[in-house]
Amino acid sequence: MQLKRHQPIRGALAAATCALVSAAPGMAWAVEAGGDWNVDSALLVYSEIDRVTVVEPLVNMKKQIGEDEYLSGKLVLDAMTGASPNGATATNRPQTFTSPSGNLYTAPAGETPLRDFRDQRVAVSGEWDKPLDRMLRGLFGASLSGETDYTSVGASAQLNWDVNDRLTTLSAGLAYYADTVNPESGAPVGLATVATATTGGNALSKDTADLLLGVTQVVNRRTLTQLNYSHSAASGYLTDPYKIVSIVDGTTGETVDYRYEKRPDSRARDAVFWKLVYRLPEDVIHLSYRYLWDDWGVASHTADIKYRYELDGGAYVQPHLRYYAQTAADFYRHSLINGAALPEHASADYRLGDLTTITAGLKYGWSPTKRANWSARVEYMLQSGESHPSDAIGVQKDQNLFPDVAAWILQVSYSAQF
């Protein structure tokens, strides 16, 4: 029923050696095709129902510059439009706000307030994949990303060391990002009342250092597994300058005021990531699990499975399921009570609350020629949380304090070797 693509023996052996020398993703592609250039391109449309839409074209070009040595560069463009929750909760009356650019906008009674926004992002990055020794590879990367109010400059280095007859690869990686936040009308003082808050402190900094230690192991002829531990430490301005928190009356639950959110100025995060790649006679399963925890009180489980089902003629379909569940950050509050002592930190950003994400999708891939691949995928993502939390007060009990977020993910990809 299925056709297996035959490669020249020399190419297959080279690919075999090459793939096991490094855990570098996609590295075998150029070798399989025997070309110098490898171009990957994609167009993503991410569209939330009634909220944000992101259109993101990107292209990655990779060139073989020596024996087992590659240089690659990536260009990503993002166009974001639509509406994003401002943090205030729905209440029994219409709510009017001022956007960072000074425009008034109103949320009807019973609806979660959304702020319209529009932004573009341009990101470029490069990577140098170089053999340092017979058993050692280095991956060195640099990245630059800019949007209206945010700039990120990053560098990374990873060493992959093959041991055990190249059946085991030990990896160690470091990355550092120096980001700058430039809020549209200055950064507000955290937890200040929105109506009277002073803003200032433009060009706030945020620095992040990541460390990764991993081991990749050939289990048998059909199975590959990877186990990683990673640690990330971020410090600086980690608050969202546009997010606010509703202040509600302690008896009636009605919204009486708003304050800007405030997050801690540091965050330490740890994660354990496990992956298994298993090949059936022709089909392939990718299975992964991540447990992540941080000092904000967030702990999360992520499970992901992809089943690549081979069709005739080199085509395939790939169903995908992803499950994600997180606990809330310690300072997450859907609202604060008027007159009560202010906490040190507070955010009503739903992404810091108890949250579950389920994604289901299907991908179809085909190869019109030996050196070109097309694929298209459609996925549906649904996020849900505590829509009626037990600590809701008065009129809050009639409101949905955590409406579901639903989104469609559409992607078309094309890759070719020259």
Binding site: L13, A19, R221, R269, R279, S413
Partner: protein, 74 residues
């Protein structure tokens, strides 16, 4: 298809339970492992885009690698 799926789900679990019984796969037997669809990240752009989406929508990110670039979406 159903049987195929069942085998597909059970075999990796079985190989896990087998634990540390790693086979010494000879270099000339590594052809299957070398295929692009058997790479840890078979589609780097898709992986990059998914990282970007979930970084923007959840309080967790990373775990599989370092590098890639930041954004102000979270």
């Amino acid at each position: 298809m159903c049987m195929r799926l069942r085998i597909a789900l059970l075999l990796p679990l079985a190989s896990l339970i087998a634990g540390c019984a790693f086979e010494r796969v000879a270099p000339w037997d590594r052809d299957l492992l070398a295929e692009s669809k058997m790479q840890l990240i078979p589609d780097p752009l898709e992986s990059y885009l998914d990282e970007h989406i979930y970084f923007s929508k959840e309080a967790s990110s990373g775990g599989q690698g370092v590098g890639g670039g930041g954004c102000g979406c979270n």
